[in-house]
């Protein structure tokens, strides 16, 4: 049974779910949870909120599964839901935190960095710097980079997900990578200073 499920494409799984085999939705969740969670993390900046967004996104996708057009790509549709869910979350969060100062955010960021500091090997790895650099980007920039590199999405598909023109995405991707390069250079420069 497990092997049979692995062979099934996203569209076949969706069809089975729509035909009453709702338990198969778990397979779709398992298949895409890492990417949806990563995308949510670009907005939420902490794991708890990102997990809430990702869960919400999968529940919304389940509710709307009947409206999914079989000819289109499931991931593009799912990432659109993720993006809108994350944007809504961010708007709500902004409203809540407008009255507060940045103290809470600073603590959150420090906690995340200290998680890495606890591991001496990871601290010096490029992954940590990249993680920090991406975290300093705007959610839109981080999302475009993640969709392009990790979501196996073309510029046209990213444009569809973010409801923008493909040319706009092209320009935004270029700018996002330039900003990321600058952030990385800045972080790496600080690291060199620390070593000295």
């Amino acid at each position: 049974m497990g092997n049979m499920q692995l062979k099934q494409t996203d569209l076949e799984l969706i069809e089975s779910v729509l035909n009453g085999q709702t338990a198969l939705y778990a397979e779709l969740v398992k298949r895409h949870q890492r990417f949806v969670f990563t995308l949510a993390l670009r907005f939420a900046k902490n794991r708890e909120d990102a997990e809430e967004i990702a869960q919400d996104c999968f529940v919304k996708a389940y509710r709307a599964l009947g409206t999914f057009k079989q000819g289109s790509k499931f991931t593009t549709w799912l990432y659109t839901i993720t993006y809108t869910t994350a944007m809504t979350f961010l708007r709500k969060k902004r409203l809540q935190t407008d009255s507060l100062d940045n103290e809470e955010n600073t603590i959150q960021l420090e906690n995340q960095i200290s998680d890495y500091n606890a591991d001496g090997i990871e601290k010096t790895s490029a992954h940590v710097f990249l993680y920090q650099a991406i975290e300093q980007l705007s959610p839109d920039d981080a999302t475009i980079i993640t969709l392009f590199y990790k979501g196996e999405q073309s510029l046209e598909e990213i444009a569809q997900t973010l409801n923008m023109e493909a040319n706009t995405i092209k320009v935004k991707l270029h700018r996002a990578r330039t900003r990321l390069k600058e952030k990385l250079q800045h972080l790496l420069k600080d690291e060199v200073k620390e070593l000295i």
Partner: protein, 161 residues
């Protein structure tokens, strides 16, 4: 006009024409500025490409499925709107209208004494008993056909939008 950085990103992404690609490749090999920038951007590109996706908690799928179980099972939209239901409703209304019409005609004291059809000077050899009823039936049929045609026309207009 593309900047050097844009050119090199297009080269790295393999998003340029073969001729342009060769041109950039030659510049990277000969121009120190292109060479330096290419090394920098390639490093960033490789770092992002090698980045691993984040993993949610172990209970993630279970939590989602627990929420999903509370939802109404989804069905394809095309099965949601069953054509038989639409036809049944249409048939009900058509029969109702017909029944009301028959009932009204049967119970009315119908006379055409005060009504006079516009006089048409057509020299058609029709029997006098056929004229009155057949003309009315013909007009009724025309009206029905016009309505059907108008309905189709509106439907077509809607579907093309």
């Amino acid at each position: 006009m593309k900047t050097i950085e844009e050119e090199i990103w297009a080269y790295i992404d393999d998003a340029c024409e073969p001729a342009e690609r060769l041109e950039i490749e030659a510049k990277i090999a000969s121009d120190p500025e292109y060479h330096r920038l290419h090394s920098e951007l390639m490093q960033v590109h490789l770092m992002i490409s090698a980045e691993e996706l984040d993993e949610p908690s172990m209970s993630f799928t279970r939590n989602v499925m627990e929420q999903v179980r509370l939802e109404v099972p989804p069905v394809a939209l095309k099965t949601k709107v069953d054509n038989r239901i639409i036809y049944s409703i249409a048939a009900f209304f058509a029969l109702s209208i017909l029944a009301i019409l028959v009932y009204a005609l049967a119970n009315s004291n119908y006379s055409m004494s005060g009504f006079k059809l516009p006089e048409m000077r057509l020299d058609l050899a029709m029997s006098p008993e056929a004229t009155s009823f057949s003309v009315k039936a013909f007009l009724f049929l025309d009206l029905a056909l016009a309505l059907v045609y108008f309905d189709r026309f509106l439907r077509k207009k809607l579907s093309t939008k």
